[in-house]
């Protein structure tokens, strides 16, 4: 089933709220939303580390959150207190944030909005393919002076 424009906008808003809530409640530092845009050219906007969640059910697509290492390092310091996290810790943090954000959206949308376990990667895997019929919405955010991308792709 294709997602209508109104549904697409509503879903994006849920993700934006979920990201804002995540930072506000868990870090007590608000995130700032920059101007979102529809991505039309090929390829993806990615930073160093990415946590990606597949979406299925009534809506099909994906969401990912991508940021550079320093943002994840700050989050790990706040959440756990590890001062010098390893690469594995950074990947875990990328998975955790995408999982919580998507999980909160799912809690709003109910059982027909299914999410996968997070897929976590560094850089841009060669195998990564984005289907042609997916509309991609990029939401740049700033948190604690770090830029991250929340990217939503829905059929």
């Amino acid at each position: 089933m294709k997602t209508s424009k109104a549904e697409f906008d509503a879903t994006c808003n849920l993700f934006i709220n979920s990201v804002n809530n995540y930072f506000r409640h868990l870090t007590e530092v608000d995130s700032e939303l920059n101007v979102p845009y529809l991505k039309e050219s090929e390829g993806l906007v990615l930073k160093d580390y990415t946590g990606m969640i597949g979406i299925s059910g009534n809506r099909k697509g994906f969401v990912y959150i991508s940021a550079n290492r320093d943002m994840y390092e700050d989050l790990i310091k706040i959440f756990i207190g590890i001062d010098t996290p390893s690469d594995e810790d950074i990947l875990d943090m990328a998975g955790e944030i995408s999982n919580v954000v998507a999980g909160n959206v799912r809690a709003n949308l109910g059982a027909n909005f299914m999410i996968s376990v997070p897929l976590v990667f560094q850089g841009m895997p060669e195998q990564l393919k984005i289907p042609d019929d997916v509309s991609i919405y990029v939401i740049p955010i700033m948190w604690n002076n770090h830029e991250a991308y929340v990217v939503i792709g829905l059929q």
Binding site: F79, E96, M114, L119, I130
Partner: protein, 261 residues
């Protein structure tokens, strides 16, 4: 915790490319343990591909050190804490050469205390249940120390339990933590089955009236499998977990080590 689908949307990536999964599961070196012991490991994170139950193994000469730890919480954040534990166990045993299981746990507690005591109010605390075994492979000698994680032994189909200290590692810093090392008695010419497990096993919800499996349920399962070889025991325990759980959600990570000596 919300249900999650195991499959990914068609993005050209499979879970094989999931780096967290690879990092996390590389901590469970079943092959290393199985190369020196007749052993099995069952690792079932509560959700997704990472969890708070960890495993560590080290061989020094004829001594094999095995540790299971059950860190607070679940998922990716708890998975980070398991790496803190493996790092400190490496430091204490490999670098500093500490060999007594109880002393290793005490040093582990002190390491965590010095790192995390001043960092309160974090989302993920550093406390964990820990079981640590030292197995001498030449003379068939076994020593154990536990922090809220006991050891179960079956010999001639009879169970024995070595109780653990009531204090977790990495918690309640205001109290002295003294972890005792116990020798596990092994009868000559009788195979002994040894089990260490995180509490996710006994706390597994299921059955007819959706209750915890409980310690009694764990012993019921272990008693049933005593005549089986270790390889078959793993299959049987997994099958029992599945039967007990049915369609009930798993609320905690499960990690079980079993071996014959």
């Amino acid at each position: 915790m919300i249900d999650q689908e195991p499959a990914y949307f068609n993005l050209g990536l499979s879970s094989d490319q999931d780096q967290t999964k690879r990092n996390y599961f590389s901590m469970f070196p079943e092959e290393i343990v199985a190369s020196v012991l007749d052993a099995f490991i069952i690792n079932k994170p509560m959700t997704g591909s990472a969890g708070g139950d960890g495993f560590w193994v080290h061989q020094a000469g004829s001594d094999l050190y095995l540790s299971l730890f059950d860190c607070m919480g679940h998922g990716h954040l708890a998975s980070m804490m398991t790496r803190v534990y493996t790092k400190y166990l490496d430091k204490i045993v490999k670098e500093e050469g500490v060999t007594d299981p109880g002393t290793i746990l005490r040093y582990l507690h002190h390491q965590l205390m010095s790192k995390f005591k001043e960092k309160s109010n974090k989302q993920m605390g550093p406390a964990a249940d820990v079981g640590l075994l030292k197995v001498n492979l030449d003379v068939r000698k076994l020593e154990f120390s536990g922090a809220k994680m006991g050891l179960i032994q079956y010999e001639d189909n009879k169970p024995t339990e070595i109780k653990a200290s009531r204090f977790q590692v990495g918690d309640m810093y205001e109290y002295p933590h003294d972890y005792k090392t116990s020798s596990v008695e092994l009868k000559p010419d009788v195979t002994s089955h040894i089990y260490l497990m995180s509490d996710g096993f006994k706390d597994l919800m299921g059955g007819f009236d959706e209750k915890k499996l409980s310690s009694k349920g764990v012993h019921r399962i272990l008693a049933k499998i005593q005549d089986q070889p270790i390889v078959k025991q793993k299959e049987s325990v997994l099958s029992e977990i599945k039967d007990w759980q049915g369609s009930t959600l798993q609320y905690d990570d499960i990690l079980i080590l079993g071996f014959a000596i």
